[in-house]
């Protein structure tokens, strides 16, 4: 095993951290950190982001593995949805027993 140096001479790769809290069902993005490899990233995520019992489960993902939408294409990507009110399920009555909607 050796220190993974993919991003520069002295720079460790960046990792995105997702934490699921005790009551939560989903892992929420809470920040990022630098770490030499996946195992250390997980430990450092624990030390940086769960010091106050914020979580019961952690995911770390190499930031380079994330494909992001281009902010410059925001108007093309998202604006057309502005006036499509009929896509919202506001015209339905949901049974009370239906959770997590």
């Amino acid at each position: 095993m050796s220190i993974n140096q993919t991003t520069g001479a002295n720079e460790w790769p960046l990792w995105e951290v997702f934490v699921r809290n005790k009551a939560g069902l989903d892992h929420k993005h809470c920040g990022s950190l630098h770490a030499p490899d996946a195992k250390m990233a997980l430990q450092m995520a624990r030390d940086v982001y769960t010091r106050r019992q914020e979580g019961v489960s952690i995911w770390v993902v190499p930031s380079s593995a994330i494909v992001a939408s281009d902010p410059g294409e925001k108007s093309m990507m998202f604006d057309p949805m502005e006036d499509k009110v009929y896509r919202h399920p506001t015209f339905y009555d949901l049974p009370a027993s239906l959770d997590h909607m």
């Binding site: 050796s2 220190i3 195992k39 450092m44 010091r51």
Partner: protein, 257 residues
Amino acid sequence: MSTSVQPGQRADVQYLLRVGDACLVLSHRISEWIGHSPVLEEDLALGNIALDLLGQARALLTRAGQLNEEPLDEDQLAYLREERHYLNPVLMELPRGDFAFTQARNLVAACWLLPLWTRLQASSDAEVAAIAAKAVKEVRYHQQHAAEWVVRLGDGSEESTRRMTTALAALWPYVNELFASDAVDAAAEASGLGPAWSLLKPDWNAAMDEVLAEARLVRPKDTPHVYAGVRGVHSEHMGHMLATMQSLQRAYPGGVW
């Protein structure tokens, strides 16, 4: 003002102070990294570990102070003793050194504290058993974290391997003391307060050898001299460390947040 305190000679108090002081002094040495770690993430990791150890020290010093003939509280024991009344093994008080030395010592200490706390969960003293139950989870993480670093540095670059090898060689002469036996140690084993430290050696050996093998580091040869920090005989580093550690409490007796 700020008069020094001296615990009595009860064997159970001394045994608890040995373990409590080991945690206290190691915590202080680790805390010296705060603001100086190579990366922010490790700054937090070391800070967390130091705080865990400080919590363990507080609990043990509190219990030792209750059992002492003249009751003493955790702050008196932590901040108002003279050097020769601290009973930590010398290993814990050595200066923090470089990052390799700190991680190597953390590994040596965690591999020792883990079987110690594990056995203390069955202490005849219910208070100590409860402290141990909490501490054992913390130390398991400390061991894992230090082991990850020792493996990465030991089997890393030429420089990191050299530094880790140097660190192990510097630490090794102090390891003996962690498994030495004497009357205090024997009394704790007999009363069920805690294990004789010699019983921790097989677990320590197995844990250390596993990490060193993965790190491709050669285990240094054992040395004959046994230090006697547990009987108050410390290295020249201890006085300097205590001067820093105690200065606030000595200057502002009884000062609290």
